[in-house]
């Protein structure tokens, strides 16, 4: 090994603490990069393979009831590759020992295995046999959550009649990777399942002989989905079609897409922050190294080493750190990726979901790591290359200090000489001081922005579950009902208030944009539901016209006062033009509201209620749920508290994973920055500190010179960090918002406090660890040597 490379290895070993601190930050960049790209890739590839293998459809449509032969007519539309019709029916399940409401969406399958779209992958057991009237396959998540398997039986109420179902298999399907009960925003696998039942059996159970109520189709390459959708809608209009839609509006697909988009956002924001800090750290550490090794550089050049050889020696130092970081970061990224993938697998059901990564991602991560290190080394390399040997071997000129701003106020403020030592040193190295401040501030900003997500989720939870939903139970009817069922519900013991909830499917057109949605309505005196804006205020329904959620308004590009074209789907297929009376800043979903009178003008009918909101006496809950279960008109019951708990559970799941990762990441930056600043400070001031000890300063007082400067810089970083965090959090909430959720920006004081605390604690512990070197300061040796 060449002597110069030997020096490199020894230098790395001697400066291992500082090198490791830099590697830590670089590794965090690599890790987040590998993590988010890897998980993204795993999810996308798994999804695409699953879609392809199980023939996930391109277009979907639902209708009230259509003859089965409509499928052939849909299949004949130009551009359609294949079409299949199914029956989809919600069923209420009666599970022994459980009086909480449990529901299932029962899908028909061809008993002879002729289905080609949205194929079920069996995990266990078999598909229903031809002629079997009560065999079902249940989805895996539901089976797991309720400890069910082939051979078990479940009582179900399908279409008003009770049926004992026999589970013959457990399966999965690409159209239910993510499954939600209607009205829910979070999956609850113990209360909602997806079933598959033989076509003939389901036809018989739902009185739909040779009829279907849903169809899906695939497109030929190059076919226009908009054209096909228009033609499908025309065909289905007489059968109560509620509008065909593509994958982007398919619930399961949309949720998965949302997740992928958030991963993208994470890749775009977080690794760059780490890379920036790592570049800065390499810059200051190498800068100091070259200043202390001036004489050696001069000597080497005098021996005949070229400028290039010297510069590349220091580049190698930086790259060696990057190698360690790339390897450690990749390993950490894979490990975290696996943990995150396991978390995803709980919410997204794939036949297999493994964290997989490609060499390209690792290569990319390594390149980023090398790039950041090399960029940071550039200034130092240039300085080392430019030193002429004669100049380098003479001692460096003494640092020049100047009295600055501090002196004008300092004396009056009772500054001691020690105070001046601190402030003048900061002013003497403005870049390095600024980098320390910025580095610590960035770590705090990152922590703040991440923690803010929890606030954001809680704010959404609060708005959606506490302010907007005031009912205890939502009772969904098998089909829209008129007033008498409401009276019947009101008579049940324990029911304190009943309000109808109405919703009619429509297409809204504005300009050349179109959105499929439902117009929701409540009675004028409604107490159990409200629309809550960004400030938490309840917004009344407009007397006339529509009220749109911000998401929907943005999608259509409408403003208050614009007039939209409303096309009623199903029923009378009316068309009307209505003004947008207002826009409400809601967080969940793209929604449209109207007063009851407006809704009736659209439907030209006293529109029936699809569900009812109930306020109940908690003491009567169990009895009431039992009664509701037996009502034939009732399809299902959603408990607000259960949904809310589920949501909180999800936040908590994420909370611990996130806290674990990001407190670690943010601390890594703070530790890396403070450690390097402290070590440089210590090496520059060892002489001065020893002098102070000789003069009779106690160790604690001497430590203060070191810690005082760091404390000032870290203190300066706190407000900067708050501002950076505020900005970063806003960028990130905006990036993470999607069609499904709009994340509110709602940082709490605790988040500010916690971010500041974690960063101060990391900085303090690191600085103290370095300050312990004061204890080992050899006064005599330092004083005998000229720096």
């Amino acid at each position: 090994m060449k002597a110069l490379d030997l020096k490199l290895l020894r230098d790395l070993w001697r400066m291992r603490g500082q090198a490791l601190a830099i590697a830590l930050v670089l590794a965090a960049a690599t890790a987040t990069f590998v993590l988010s790209l890897g998980v993204h890739r795993s999810l996308t590839e798994t999804r695409d393979a699953y879609y392809a293998r199980n023939h996930f459809a391109d277009i979907f449509a639902e209708m009230t009831r259509a003859p089965r032969n409509i499928v052939a007519r849909v299949a004949a539309i130009p551009g359609v590759q294949r079409a299949e019709g199914v029956i989809q029916q919600y069923a209420s399940l009666d599970m022994p020992g459980r009086n909480i409401p449990v529901r299932a969406l029962v899908n028909s399958v061809d008993e002879h295995g002729h289905d080609r779209l949205n194929l079920v992958t069996l995990r266990e057991g078999r598909m229903p046999r031809p002629g079997a009237s009560r065999e079902v396959v249940v989805d895996e998540a539901f089976a797991e959550a309720n400890a069910l398997g082939p051979g078990d039986e479940i009582d179900a109420i399908i279409y008003g009649s009770r049926l004992r179902l026999r589970i013959v298999g457990v399966g999965l399907a690409p159209n239910f990777i993510y499954s939600l009960a209607p009205g829910d925003i979070i999956p609850d696998n113990s209360r909602f399942g997806v079933f598959w039942m033989g076509e003939k059996a389901l036809e018989a159970a739902t009185d739909r002989k040779e009829a279907i109520n849903a169809l899906s189709l695939t497109l030929e390459k190059g076919a226009s989905d908009a054209d096909v959708i228009r033609k499908v809608d025309t065909l289905l209009a007489p059968y109560g079609g509620t509008g065909a839609y593509g994958r982007e509006d398919h619930l399961s697909h949309a949720f998965l897409d949302n997740e992928l988009m958030q991963l993208d956002a994470m890749t775009e924001v977080i690794p760059p922050v780490f890379l920036l800090v790592a570049t800065f750290l390499v810059y200051i550490v190498l800068g100091r190294m070259i200043r202390t090794e001036r004489t050696q550089i001069g000597l080497l050049k005098a021996f005949g080493y070229s400028d290039l050889a010297i510069a590349s020696h220091y580049l190698k130092f930086a790259l060696a750190i990057a190698v360690v970081a790339a390897v450690a970061g990749s390993l950490a990224g894979v490990w975290m990726g696996q943990a995150m993938t396991r978390l995803y697998a709980e919410y997204y059901r794939f036949p297999f979901l493994e964290y997989r990564n490609s060499p390209v991602v690792f290569l990319g991560a390594a390149m980023l790591s090398f790039g950041a290190a090399a960029l940071g080394a550039l200034a130092g390399m240039r300085a080392a290359a430019r030193l002429s040997p004669a100049v380098a071997m003479s001692p460096p000129p003494p640092p020049v200090y100047r009295a600055g701003m501090v002196e004008r106020f300092g004396t009056a403020a009772g500054f001691t000489a020690i105070g001046y030592m601190i402030t003048r040193h900061i002013a003497r190295w403005p870049w390095r001081s600024a980098i320390t401040v910025l580095g610590v501030a960035l770590s705090m900003g990152l922590l703040f922005a991440t923690l803010q997500f929890l606030d954001s989720s809680r704010a959404m939870l609060d708005s959606y579950f506490f302010r907007a939903q005031r009912q205890d139970l939502t009772v969904t009817f098998t089909e829209p009902r008129n007033e008498d069922v409401l009276y019947e519900l009101a008579q049940l013991p324990g029911v304190l208030r009943v309000e109808p909830a109405r919703g009619v499917p429509v297409k809204l057109h504005f300009g050349n944009r179109m959105e499929r949605t439902a117009i929701e309505s409540a009675t004028g005196d409604a107490q159990l539901s409200a629309r809550i804006d960004g400030e938490g205020k309840a917004i009344a329904l407009p007397v006339a016209g529509l009220m749109l959620s911000r998401q929907m308004a943005d999608k259509l590009g409408v403003h208050a006062g614009d007039r939209v074209f409303v096309e009623l789907l199903g029923g009378r297929q009316t068309k009307s033009v209505l003004p947008v009376a207002g826009i409400v800043d809601e967080f969940v979903g793209e929604r449209v509201y109207a007063a009851q009178a407006t809704l009736e003008r659209i439907t030209r009918d006293a529109s029936p209620a699809g569900s009812a909101l109930l306020r109940i006496d908690p003491a009567a809950r169990d009895g009431l749920l039992a009664r509701l279960k037996d009502m034939p008109q009732v399809l299902g019951v959603t408990e607000r508290d259960a949904a809310m708990n589920k949501f909180e559970e999800m936040i908590d799941d994420n909370l611990y994973t996130m806290l674990f990762f990001y407190v670690g990441f943010a601390s890594a930056i703070a530790v890396g920055v403070v450690y390097n600043s402290a070590r440089i400070l210590f090496s520059e001031r060892a002489n001065e500190l020893a002098t102070l000890r000789v003069l009779g300063y106690y160790r604690s007082e001497v430590g203060l010179v070191l810690l005082g400067e760091l404390a000032l810089l870290v203190a300066a970083a706190v407000p900067v960090g708050c501002i950076l965090g505020y900005w970063l959090a806003q960028v990130m909430t905006a990036m993470f918002s999607s069609d499904l959720f709009r994340l509110p920006f709602a940082p709490t004081r605790a988040t500010y406090g916690y971010s500041i605390l974690v960063i101060l604690a990391s900085a303090a512990l690191t600085a103290l660890a370095v300050a312990r070197r004061v204890l080992r300061l050899d006064m005599v040796r330092v004083l005998k040597a000229r720096e």
Partner: protein
Amino acid sequence: MELAFRGSALGKVYRTGETEVHALRGVDLEIRTGELLVLLGPSGSGKSTLLNIIGGLDRPTSGELHYGGTDLVGLNDRELTRFRRANIGFIFQFYNLIPSLTAEENVRLVTDIADRPMEPGEALALVGLAERANHYPAQLSGGEQQRVAVARAIAKQPGVLLCDEPTGALDSKTGIRVLETLAKANRELGTTVAIITHNVGIAAMAQRVLHFLDGRIARTEINENPVDPQAISW
């Protein structure tokens, strides 16, 4: 005359890895208050080790050492620091000024923590640098820097000034100016002064000269007629 330091059988052994270095091998010494002492001897003869031990920067491996009534050997680090702070002024070959502080502020470093300091300006006036008070070390010559170091050492009015090669980095003219300030402190403030030097000529200004060899005081020389630093042959 009163005794400042009384040491007996002082020994110091440094261990570096396998080897042991006996820096002091049983030194007995008495330093009287108000005395001006010069320590002469070749490199490695134990002068600096002794000076560091009596100044509380280091501890003897064996022997006893008292300053007035205080047993220095038994003090812990904090008490030794306290002892230095109250009683000792150090001057080294390489000035060791804080580059970010002006001459006056360097002196204030000491007056900030001393019990009965003089004004920083007064100390600088004593070494003839009143006009340079607001200059940073980088703006002063070597001799001036060393005089600032002397001012910093005497500003707390210490009982003892310990100087390790104070003129080692200076030419004769500036060296003599520094020695004059030391003599002045000894004469006017009654400070006990001990000076380590390689320069035999400096011994002429001492009342007593200790000759060191191999970790021992080989010979003590009493000088009945100490000369003024001006008269030293460099």
